[in-house]
Each structure stands twice: as C-alpha cells, then as structure tokens.
C-alpha cells in the first residue's frame, strides 16, 4: 500500500513499499516523487447528493398526489383519505412524519457530502496511480501501467460559479477512461511536471485540448507581472546639456561616453568645478521594499570606493540616486585612455609600457591591500587614463556589476582581458594581474590580446613581419619583457604572478 508522505518542501510524495522482507524491520520504502495533484475537497458529490434527495422528495410528493387521485376514484378509500385530511391530529402526524423524513434526509446528505476526499493523480516511473486520500491515508483506486495507456488528455470546461475547470482524462486500452479533476490548487509546476513525465515515459500519449493557453502561469511569471514597472520615471532619455541634478548641485554640460552599464556625463558643480557623472539606470519596481534594497546595494558598493584614497584611483566624490538612476560623482581627469593613446599614436615602445605598468602595479597593490581587497575586475586599456600631466589613473570600477544578474550569469565584459577563473565567477587579485598583462600586450602591439590565451608580444611580432618591419625588422620587445607579459597572463593562477608586488619587482628590474 503506497503511502503519502510530505517531503521537506511541503509537497507530497508517494512512497511505495517495494520489498518487504521476512522480518518486519526491513521494509524498504522507495520514494517516487513525481507530481501530485491536490484537491482539497470536492463540492460536486455534495451537490449531486443534494439534488438526488430533492428529486426523491419531489417523487414522493408527485406519487402522493397521484395516489390521492387514484384514491378519489374509490369512494371508500377517498372517504378514508378525507377522514384523515379532515382529522386535524392525523394531518399533523402525517406532516410531522414527512418533515422528519425530510430533515433526516438532509442530515444524511450533509454527512455524506462532508466526507471530504482528496483525489490524487501521480506519475510513477512505470505507471499512473489514481488514488483517494482520506486524511493522510492513501487509497489506491487504479493502477494504470504505461503499456495500457492509450491517451491522456488535458481538458478544460466552463463551470458555473467556478470559471475554467481543468481535468485530466486518462484513456486506457480496455476502453476505460478515468477523469481526474484538475483543481486550481496545484503545486508549483506540476502541470509542466506531469507533461514532462508523460512525454518522457510514454511519448506521444499526451493530448492537450484547444485551451492549452489557459494553463496557470508559473509563479515567477506572476510576480513578474505584479512587480514589473509601471511608468514612474520622469525622464526617459539621455540627460541633455543644462540638465540640473540634485536641485542644481550638478549641471550637465555634455556627454563623455557610454559603457556597458551606463553613460558618463561631464558636469559642473555649484562651485564651478568639473566632475564626471557616471549614470546607472536602475530598474523600477512596484514594491517599495524591493526598490529600497536595490538602491541600498548601489550605495554600499559606492561606499567602498569612496574610502579609496590613492592618486592613481579616480576619486569618487559623492553618489546619489535621482529619478531611478544611480549617479557616481567622479573626479574629472583630462587626458587620454590607453586605448585612445594607442589608436592616436600607435603602439608604444617597451619602456613607456614598463613605466605605465609600474604605475598600474602600484595602484593594484594599493587596491589589493585594502581589507577586504578591492578588485577592479575590468581593467583594460579603456579604463586606464593617462592624464595630461603624465599621471596614470584607473577608472570604472565595477560598481554596477554587483547589481548585475548572477544566476543566469550573463557576461558583459572585455573578454580579451578576463582570465578563465573570473569567467567561472571566482575572481581573485590575480585576475587583475592577468588584465594588466593583457593591457601591457595591447600597449606594445596595439592589438587586443587573444581571449583565453597567454599573451606573447614576441610571438606576435614573429608572426607578423609587417608589424616588425615598422621597427626596422627587429622585434621591438625584449625577451625578458615578453616573459613578464606571458607570466602575467598565464591561464592558471599558479603560473601567474602571485601578487602585484612580484610583477612590480620584475618590471622595475627592466626599467631603465
């Protein structure tokens, strides 16, 4: 006898004893958790009983009237009936008996119908089980092995007062068909589960009638609908020049550019200083609590950056949220990014690269020495600025990256500079070193490094004769520097520089 047991998630599973040994201790329970349809009670038999009883009484009435008619043909009986009718006490007795019978029948119908049963349909690996549940006992009504199954239909029909009602019709080879009402009291995805199991074990038996679109939406779809935004934003476009933020504290003076996460604006403060506003358009949700938590996370990340105080890190002055957009107020550094530098002036020589590399190492060292270490995570020629006065500054920390999707793990990143372990979601301090190695490779070759590959400028110049020709035919990169880049961009962290200091030491040795 299979038993119904609740599992730890509150759904019910059918546990069936597969093998009962001689001793009563070795009862083996095999748990077949598939899908269980729940029906908490069934009002239908109740109504059916009720109408049956009503019908019975109508029949009694009709018969008594008919009999009265027949009796009237026989004078003696009619006289008797008349006597009864005329006798007040007897009429009362008759009425009382009829009333008692009616009340008794009502009570009977009431008790009959209140015997609530839960009907369950579950799919086991070898068969379908239809069972009734009374309290926590399960009484199997039918076993339907896959082999005797002809078709399973999911039907829906309109019922008065209930709206759409679904039912599962199981047709078997013997010509029998079983109808299991599909209550709206369903667990999670059991519709999809049933369909999935059927299609796996008995491909082709499932038929879904026309109203298949009426299937209940998944839970996640429901909240999505409930919480997804309504138009609450004031502004739907890029900020125009002259736009005032924080009631005039910042006035946008132009757009600097845009990245994967947001746009950067140039703005003037009230004091007349020029700052950069990095903008992240935050999602709008209906639930106040959810929105609050999201902005809190934005602030938390910004706070970490605010604590950093290093000349090589672009200073974060302030941050705020306005019109469902998060803003970071950053120091404005006039100059070129390394990318622009190479695009405008061509590949750099080894010494320039080493000088930039050393400065970057010092910045990374500072970041990684923080507690907890701050990882840049997106170091690339785009995100390193060479200011007009020769200073090297790192920008674009991944504040918003933290707000990005995690489980569906969509990467948006310059993959040429991202080491494998970061793709696997476990970036370490060494990941920034890989990115630094790639950046140095870009500086000396003017080419994006091959993703997921240990970079080697010497190999590049050897393969590209034309590139080497610009340098008089000889390779412009020394073997030692090539080795540094290769070590920095080793695919496994064990082969890479352990920290920024180690890379710094090697680079300093090369510097002339």
């Amino acid at each position: 006898m299979p038993k119904l047991l609740p599992d730890r998630y509150g759904r019910n599973v059918i546990a069936e004893s597969v093998f009962a040994g001689a001793g009563n201790s070795d009862l083996v329970l095999r748990i077949n958790s598939i899908c269980v349809f729940r029906r908490l009670d069934q009002p239908k038999p109740f109504l059916r009983n009720l109408f049956a009883i009503n019908l019975l009484f109508w029949a009694i009435i009709v018969i008594s009237f008919t009999f009265k008619g027949i009796f009237s043909l026989l004078p003696s009986v009619d006289a008797l009936f008349g006597m009864i009718a005329s006798s007040h006490e007897l009429a009362m007795l008759f009425l009382t008996v009829l009333l008692a019978i009616t009340i008794g029948a009502s009570a009977f119908a009431f008790l009959l119908s209140s015997n609530y049963k839960t009907r369950r349909l579950s799919v086991l690996p070898d068969k379908i089980v239809i069972a009734r549940q009374i309290d926590n006992e399960l009484f199997v009504e039918h076993y339907i092995p896959w082999s005797s199954l002809v078709s399973v239909e999911i039907k829906s029909a309109k019922r008065l007062g209930l709206g759409e009602v679904h039912s599962v019709v199981i047709n078997t080879r013997g010509g029998k068909s079983y109808v299991v009402p599909w209550d709206d009291v369903l667990i999670d995805n059991s519709h999809a589960s049933l369909v999935n199991q059927l299609e796996t074990h008995a491909p082709g038996v499932l038929k879904v009638s026309g109203e298949q679109a009426q299937v209940k939406p998944a839970f996640t779809e429901l909240w999505l609908h409930e919480f997804a935004t309504t138009g609450q934003r004031v502004n739907a476009d890029l900020l125009a020049s002259g736009h005032k933020l924080q009631s005039g504290d910042y006035i946008v003076s132009g757009i600097l550019g845009g990245g994967g996460q947001g746009n950067a604006y140039l703005a003037q403060t009230k004091e007349g200083a020029t700052v950069v506003l990095k903008e992240y358009v935050l999602p709008v949700y209906r639930g106040a609590q959810v929105t609050q938590n999201l902005t809190d996370r934005f602030f938390k990340e910004a706070e970490i950056l605010k604590k950093l105080n290093h000349p090589g890190v672009v200073k974060l002055h302030h941050h705020f949220v306005e019109d469902f957009r998060g803003y970071l107020v950053l120091e404005y550094v006039p100059g070129l990014s390394l990318k622009e530098l190479v695009l405008q002036k061509g590949a750099q020589d080894e010494q320039t690269a080493i000088a930039i590399g050393i400065k970057l190492c010092l910045i990374l060292k500072h970041l990684h020495e923080q507690y907890p270490p701050v990882l840049h995570r997106d170091l690339s020629p785009d995100n390193v600025l060479l200011s007009d006065d020769g200073a090297v500054k790192v920008v674009d920390f991944n504040v918003a990256r933290q707000l990005e999707s995690s489980a569906s793990a969509t990467v948006v990143g310059k993959h040429a500079y991202i080491p494998p372990e970061q793709f696997r979601g476990k970036p370490t301090c060494q990941s920034d070193i890989y990115a630094l190695g790639g950046t140095l490779y870009y500086l000396v070759t003017g080419l994006e490094p091959e993703p997921l590959t240990t970079s080697s400028p010497v190999a590049y110049f050897a393969s590209q004769a034309s590139a080497a020709k610009a340098h008089g035919g000889s390779c412009p990169v020394s073997a030692d520097f090539d080795k540094i880049i290769a070590t920095a961009t080793a695919l496994v962290p064990q082969g890479r520089y352990a920290n920024a200091e180690a890379l710094l030491a090697d680079l300093s040795r090369m510097q002339r």
Binding site: Y9, P125, H201, E279, V411
Partner: protein
Amino acid sequence: MSELPPVLKDQVTCRYVTGGLISARNFILALSPIWLVWSLVVMANALGCLLGLISATPADNPQYVTVIGFCLALIGLSFFALRVCGDYKLSFDSQSIKFPSHLLLELKGRLRRSWSELKQVDFVTDDGNVEHPRTVSFVFKDCAVPLAIKGLGQDTLRQLVLAISAHAPAARFVPELSQVDLAILPQSISAAGVGLHATYTQLWESELSERFGSTSFVPMVPGDRLRDGKIKIVGQLAFGGLSAVYLAELADSSLAGNCTFAASQVAGQAVVLKEAVLPVSVGDDARFKALSMFEREAQLLAAVKHERIASVLDFFQERGRSYLVLDHIEGTDLRHFVRDSGKQSALVVTRWLCDIAELLQYLHGLNPPLIHRDIAPDNIVLTPSGRLCLIDFGAANTYIGTATGTVVGKQSYIAPEQFRGKATLASDLYSLGCTAAFALCGSDPLALMQVSAADLPASTDSRLVDLVARLTDQDAGVRPHSAAALYEELQNLRESLLQESRAALAKGSGHA
C-alpha cells in the same frame, strides 16, 4: 487566438472553498430540501385550493394570493441563499479584492474591498504552532475576515500573499512571513540555503535582480508603442546592460506591410521583442559594421521555419535602438522548471537532449548552416505539449558584442572557441552539453570546464556521463562531429534507457 497569455491578465480569480464541516454554506445547502420541498408542497396545496376556490368563492382570493406570494418569496430566498453560499469566487486585481459572497456577513455587506483598506494580515493557528497556521485573517478598518488556508490552497495563497505585498505594502503580516511556513515557496529558494523561512521580499528580490539589472538606457514600459503604434509593449521580461527583452502585442495585422519579412501575423498576437542599444561611445564604423552583420543574420533567421523554433517576425531600427521581433512561445523555461522540480533523471535529460539535438540538426543543416550561439536553459522552453522549443538566438548578443568588443552571453554555456570569437557548429554542441549538465545537477556548470563524472550525480547512467563529457570537451575536435550524429546517438541511448527502466521495473515488481 488573439488572447494574450494569462500572465498578463490583470485580474486573478481563484476559489475559496471552506473545508470545515460546519459552515453556513453547508448548513443552508443541507436544509434546502426543507425550503424547496415544503414551499412546493404548501404552494401546490394552495394552488389546489385556489383552483377549487376560483369557481366557488372568489371573495376569498386575496388570502391565497398572499400564501402563494409567501411561497414564491420562500423559493426565491432559497435560491438566493444557494447562490450566495455556492459562490466560491475570490478575485483580486491591482485595485481591490472581492471575496466570495458567503462571507457577506463577516464583511458587513461590502464584498469588494480596496487594498488600501487592508490594515493587517494575521496568521492564526488553533494548536499553538505558529509555524503552521490554519487560518489567514484579513483585518480591515471595520471588520476581519478569516479564510481557512486549507480552503485556499497553496497556489491561491501564494498569489494572495504576492498581491498583498505588491498592492498593499502598508499591510502588516502578523506574525512576519519569515516566521510562518506556508509551504508555498519554490524548492529552489528552500534549497538555496535561504530555507523555508525566506521572506517573500527576499524571494522576489533574488528573482528580480536575476532578471533586471542596471542599464545604460531607459527601458520601455508597458503601454509604449513602436512601429507607428503597431507594436505595443505589454510587459518587461528582462533587461540589463545594453539590452532588454519585452513581451509585446501586435496591434493590427498591417505590420506585414512595412515588415522586413513577410510573415502572417494576427492582431493581438503575443510576440517577444528584443531590444539592443549601442552605447553612445561606439564609433560610426563599428556601429555600421555591427548593424549590417546583425541585419544579415536576422535575414537568415527569418528563413528559419520550424514549429519548435520561435520564428523571427521582424527586424528594425527605431530611435537608434535595434529590435528583433520573435514569436512568443508559451511554456516554462528549463531554468525555472529545473529549479522548481529539482534535478532531472537521465531518462528525462536524454529526451530533452534528443529534442534539442533534432533542432540543431535542422539549424546546422540549413544552407548556409546557422549557428544558434546561445543554447542555454533560459532559451529552451518546455511547452504545454511536452516538447522543447528554442525561443531565442544569440544574434542580438553578437550584435552588441561586435560593436563593443565584449562578449555577451551566459558564461557557463559558451564554448572556449566562442569566447575567442570563432563560434562554430561544435560550439552549439558544447552549450547543449552544459545544458544537460545543468538539468542533471540542478545548477550551472563551471564555465570553460569539461563536465566530468565527478560533477554529475553518482547515479547518472555512465553512457550519458560519457556523452556529456564529450560534448563539453574544451577541444571542439573531440565533440560529436555533427548534430545529426549526436541526434542518432541520443535516439539509441534513449531507446535503451527506456527499455532498461521498464525491464528493471518489471523485475522489481515481480520480486515484490
């Protein structure tokens, strides 16, 4: 046909059936024989007398009219009582909640209550066990309505709790949702270590942040229109970074007129709209190159006609953003399905692989062969008919990737050669292998790692383990050489697994 998926319905209608033996409804229903029968008896008698009296003493008529009137009123009343007591409909929308009519007295006559009236929601128990409440009580300004949780059912309860959180943020739950176990949270949330005591806010937050991230543009909101009003946004499905996905509706059938691809479209048809926004900093050359590539690919995709692949209906540019219009396929995506129903058996996974391999065989067999580039659990949908469908292509990701030099996609599912920028037919097979690993383990596989037996559940069939390992080999040459070959291999595997499982069951039951 023209009806939108149920997700979008504003109103939720459910059933509330009281499970208790003693309830006003049962009582009135049980007593209905008395009303119905006795009123009929009395009326019939009265009618009999009336017929006799019409000819005899017309003067007495008024008395009998009163009797008949009384009986009719009695019958009317009983029908009204039946209607009131037989009404199980509990419905709510964003504005208000309407209770079933048998709660008329508790609600002081006003069945429809605005959410703003809701003050508090109590979970009441009668056995002192607060964790498992029996009753949920709605406290309004002037009254309180208790609803039996058993009568609501899990699905309705979860929808109710959801609606309360969304529409009546001011209402308090007593005790807090985190302290009661309503057994209505999906398995994933319980399994994720948050435990059954996760609050709804946490649940939504994790789901929302998974779907919606910060963006560099302002996503459209429901009600926005495109293509001169011919496409209407109905809901947001996901967005982050530079792209967004919407559920939309075709306003009229005249889209075909200025549609890029002639396709039969129906007014009111639900479609999926993919939006890609290039950042302002992307240069004109890169923009043009990416766009023409995208356009070329969109044309290839439009030629794909397969009943289990969402077809591309349209492709256009508007206000600097690029759009791809795809068929909307009803169903649950594999990520949510696996999350709600747990790890899948080898048999199920093999069938799934078969389904997708068949589609890949079709795509790869086209001239020129089409690489999907984004096979992942999120892009595969289990339809109500039990088959798997592909709902999305990687083309839009590639578009952004080409323009910005980034890689966009689900990192766990991207083949190494695709990371390096050279997606091949074998890359789709790699992604399929990762999808299989996801279904078997219930979690995303590690990016850029071959799936080995150690990563999969120990009970997995060794042939399937071997196949998944070969599919996810980092070297494309080791993977099955074509989708067709894979499909054939899978068919054989599925056949033998089915037979073995049946044989094992037959043996098992014979033994028992």
